[in-house]
């Protein structure tokens, strides 16, 4: 663990070439990063202390793009990102309470730590819990008039949709979300996507070619040669995928799809990283997973035999998002808008794209590793907020013997 950190530091220091004084300054002068003023070890305070070395920046100075970029084979040689750089945005000043959904490799927390270092009078207190749990807490707090968060940073559109439906939000400014395609924003500016993830079919390139994967997810049960396949029915993204299928194809078709896939021998796994690893190992020929898990495997191994196929216009091509929402009654509306603009800056989008392999939410930043751009994908035409209607999905999965 300590080793990881040291490696990360050295690597970044090399990249940024910020010099030793800058690193020390980042460690000691940062208002929340010192550790002494937050002895209770709040998430931001403590991580900030470590992140101080990571970004290697002097407070108030925004480092070059290299500091934001991840490392590894599939990240090298990228063009400079377009979009709005942080230096063109208004400064962040004040403090924000952020309810953040778990997951995503912790890089969102890391990015907030970096923001704290750039702006000496900006601090973030983040509280991590499952997104759907935060969503319900936010609605309860709003109803009781006891709001505790300014920003809800969910890793899932359905949780944002839930809060929006319950009216526990305040609209984001047009300026804050103007660069995001409308497909990835909530109605009434309720929320804005900051990072995307596509449903995909990882396949083993020794066993299958891209032509073997059908363009329609509904054809999978009848297609020979895909098995052994893996899926992770307890994983939220899989449930969203089934919900999307339900909304597009109807309940009966979805139920029989699940039943056929199950009787074809599709194996259950606890998560989709395991599925992607096993596809690369050859233990599975293909599977259902979010796109970034295969990218992680690729970035970790030396040219593993794994690639991604995407279906077209159906649930198999669903693009879900992590996004931010302004919580009702925050009282810091302008700061939240500026914060969201930072999450959609060139640097942030490059950061998310190269470290968690997320789909950028602004068209001027490219996805990593030869992934099709977000325009080249053909996601289904559904309202992402509707994905919060999980109840019937769970019943249906239950009936099909694929409990979630």
């Amino acid at each position: 663990m300590t080793k990881d950190k040291r490696f990360g530091r050295r690597h970044l220091l090399k990249t940024v070439a910020a010099g030793s004084t800058a690193a020390i300054a980042g460690c000691t002068l940062s208002p929340s990063g010192g550790g002494t003023d937050t002895p209770d070890g709040s998430e931001n305070g403590t991580d900030g202390g470590d992140g101080g070395d990571g970004s290697g920046g002097v407070p108030g100075e925004i480092p070059e793009i290299g500091a934001f970029r991840g490392s590894g084979t599939i990240v090298e040689g990228r063009p400079a990102p377009g979009g709005t750089p942080i230096r063109d945005l208004p400064d962040l000043s004040g403090s924000l309470d952020v309810y953040i959904g778990g997951g995503e490799g912790g890089i969102y927390t890391q990015f907030m730590d970096m923001l704290e270092e750039f702006y000496s009078d900006f601090s973030v207190s983040s509280n991590a819990a499952p997104s759907s749990s935060h969503a319900q807490t936010i609605v309860e707090e709003a109803q009781a008039g006891e709001t505790r968060a300014d920003v809800f940073w969910s890793i899932d559109a359905s949780s944002l949709g839930y809060v929006a439906d319950e009216g526990a939000y305040e609209p984001l400014s047009d300026e804050a979300i103007e660069q995001v395609p409308s497909r990835f924003t909530g109605g009434d500016n309720a929320w804005a996507g900051v990072a995307g993830r596509a449903r995909a079919v990882p396949y083993n390139t020794n066993e299958l070619s891209e032509d073997d994967i059908p363009n329609s997810v509904m054809e999978f049960p009848e297609t020979d040669g895909l098995q052994p396949m893996g899926w992770a029915p307890t994983y939220g993204a899989f449930k969203s995928f089934v919900t999307a299928m339900r909304l597009i194809e109807g309940d009966d078709a979805t139920r029989s799809w699940l039943e056929s896939m199950k009787s074809a021998g599709t194996e259950r796994f606890p998560n989709e990283f395991v599925i992607s690893s096993q596809v690369a190992d050859g233990a599975l020929y293909s599977g259902f997973a979010n796109h970034y898990y295969a990218m992680r495997v690729k970035n970790q191994r030396d040219d593993p035999p794994i690639d991604l196929a995407f279906t077209e216009g159906d649930a198999g091509a669903l693009v879900n998002i992590a996004g931010a929402l302004k919580v009702q009654g925050t009282g810091k509306g302008d700061l939240v808008d500026t914060f969201v603009r930072h999450l959609l800056s060139s640097e942030a989008q490059e950061f998310f794209a190269t470290r968690s392999f997320a789909y950028p939410m602004i068209p001027d930043v490219q996805p990593v590793g030869g992934l099709p751009t977000i325009d080249e994908l053909s996601p289904p035409d559904i309202d992402l907020s509707e994905l919060s209607n999980l109840g019937p999905t769970l019943e249906l999965m239950q009936e099909a013997g694929v409990s979630g």
Binding site: D40, G45, G102, A144, A283, S403
Partner: protein
């Protein structure tokens, strides 16, 4: 004898009823009983919000309850509880007798070894078991070349195995406390009276330790019912997983309804246990602790140690080995810079666990004392009532407390006191159980003698009762401390903003983030802190 002589007046009848309810213990005893009942009520009051919410469902509730899926989950949950509890009793009582009475070398060492699995969160154990035994796991690399294949660890059997490995210490600890308080002279007397060793165990020891065994078994049963991580990892669909999936699926009312069903199952288990636990007919009372019984094992002395050694290997060494593998090889998952571990997380864990243990002892003391000493129904009811919280999954309690605090006492919402309160609700029965058990074994004549000799009530408590029940208090405090260290769902929901991580929320965070390697250090710290506390407390329990 005429009816007129026997028939009490209405005033007398009322006072009789009152006596049966609160007992006939004089004003001090009665007020203690009332205090115990009030404390117990306060603990479960927030759960009433569950009932309020379920009532909103109306008739839909009946439909939901009788759905086939719901019934299947119920049956599976109950079966898992039965298997794990049975296996834990066999393992726990066996090991307690071995380590307390057996003439084994390094007794304290083996005692700590037997209790240690409690220090490991069962979900970490399950996680490690899958990493080791699962398809392409660490152990299959060892076995594959030899041509052996691993039986599947997933499913009901795997979940039952893992849960037993990590919950039998409950039976072990409570049985051990009973065995330590057991008067050796009683067993000696039985042996002198020509009872065989087995007969002496059955007729003297067993009735004495039965309440202890039952208290431990109850904790095992309720833990199994409320555990989420292990069945989830092992892919067994039980109540908790069903509830969690519905809560995260924005089906709160259904989740709440299922939680109420879970509480109902708890009530049944409690009723069963109270029949065993309360049945003290034939139990010989102890006249104080006169040294432990020695059990000569002869040539079985060393082979018998294979059992705790094997359990220790599977429950502790294997996961630790897996964590060390993750630590040295990075573990599955991918590497990023963020989410660095901080020692303050360990401090947070220890801080809340100490607070929860302290508060639990204070709450448990009147409840356990009255339950053991008084024959009033109210006292026993208070005792039983505290157990409800233990079977309520952390997430359900978290939901109920958020709702309760926001609507009734917003001032405590997301504060440390509320978090500690949640821990007390969840874990106080562990303290109640072990303290009641040791109190029951205190011979009433000792305290009477002390009172006759002029000691005050408080003085008697301090100089007679307390030293005798000290092992029970220590065990109870240890159990609350340990389980609080391991608690996740309620902590996630209720920890104050800005409080930061505890060891377990940090493990959750990095696991969610896919950074398994980073879970290694906190997991090891968790085990070491828990093990240390356990060693200290076990040592204190021995005389």
């Amino acid at each position: 004898m005429s009816g007129g002589e026997r028939g009490p007046s209405s005033v007398e009848r009322q006072s009789q009823l009152w006596r049966r309810l609160v007992g006939d213990d004089g004003p001090v005893g009665t007020s203690l009983t009332l205090l115990a009942a009030l404390l117990a009520l306060a603990l479960v009051a927030p759960l009433a919000w569950l009932a309020v919410e379920a009532a909103d469902l109306g008739w839909e509730a009946v439909d939901m309850t009788t759905q086939q899926a719901t019934v299947e989950v119920l049956v599976r949950s109950v079966a898992l509880v039965a298997v794990v509890t049975g296996a834990s009793i066999v393992l726990g009582v066996g090991m307690a007798v071995l380590t307390v009475q057996g003439d084994i070398p390094f007794r304290r060492f083996w005692t700590v070894l037997c209790a240690l699995p409690l220090a490991m969160p069962s979900y970490l154990g399950a996680f490690a078991a899958i990493s080791a035994f699962g398809p392409r796991g660490a152990l299959s690399h060892v076995l594959d070349p030899v041509g052996l294949s691993m039986p599947t660890i997933y499913g009901f059997g795997g979940a039952a195995l893992v849960l037993t490995l990590y919950t039998y210490p409950y039976v072990f600890l409570t049985t051990r406390a009973s065995l330590l308080s057991l008067d050796a002279s009683l067993v000696e007397a039985a042996r002198t009276l020509d009872c065989s060793r087995w007969e002496a165990f059955r007729r003297v020891t067993l009735p004495q330790i039965l309440p202890g065994v039952a208290a431990g078994a109850l904790l095992v049963a309720l833990y199994t019912l409320a555990d989420f991580g292990t069945p989830n990892f092992m892919r067994v669909q039980v109540f908790t997983q069903f509830i969690y999936a519905r809560y995260t699926g924005f089906m709160r009312p259904y989740a709440v309804l299922l939680s109420l069903q879970l509480v109902a199952v708890t009530a049944v288990i409690l009723a069963v246990e109270s029949r065993i636990g309360a049945d003290e007919e034939g139990a010989y009372e102890s006249r104080g602790n006169r040294g432990a019984v020695e059990l000569g094992l002869g040539r079985w002395r060393y082979p018998a140690l294979l059992l705790p050694a094997g359990v220790f290997l599977a429950a502790i060494v294997l996961p630790v080995w897996i964590f060390v593998l993750w630590l040295t090889q990075g573990g599955p998952g991918y590497q990023t810079g963020g989410l660095a571990f901080s020692w303050s997380y360990a401090e947070n864990s220890v801080k809340v666990a100490l607070m929860a243990a302290g508060a639990s002892i204070l709450v448990a003391l009147p409840v356990a004392l009255r339950s053991a000493a008084s024959d009033s129904r109210l006292a026993r009811f208070a005792d039983r009532l505290t157990y409800v919280g233990y079977a309520v999954p952390g997430i359900v309690l978290g939901i109920a407390l958020i709702r309760f605090s926001l609507e009734v006492v917003p001032a405590v919402y997301k504060t440390l006191p509320l978090l500690v309160f949640a821990y007390v609700v969840r874990f106080v029965p562990q303290a109640v159980g072990s303290m009641r058990t040791s109190t029951q074994q205190v011979d009433g004549r000792l305290t009477e003698a002390s009172r006759v000799l002029g000691r005050s009530r408080l003085g008697t408590f301090r100089s007679v009762t307390l030293p005798l029940i000290a092992p029970g208090v220590a065990t109870g405090a240890a159990l609350v401390f340990l389980t609080t260290m391991k608690e996740l769902p309620a902590t996630l929901l209720l920890r104050p903003t800005g409080f930061g991580h505890t060891l377990v929320t940090y493990i959750w965070r990095v696991r969610e983030a896919g950074l398994y390697g980073k879970a290694a250090v906190p997991a090891l710290v968790l085990v070491v802190v828990s093990a240390l506390s356990m060693a200290v407390i076990l040592a204190g329990g021995e005389r």
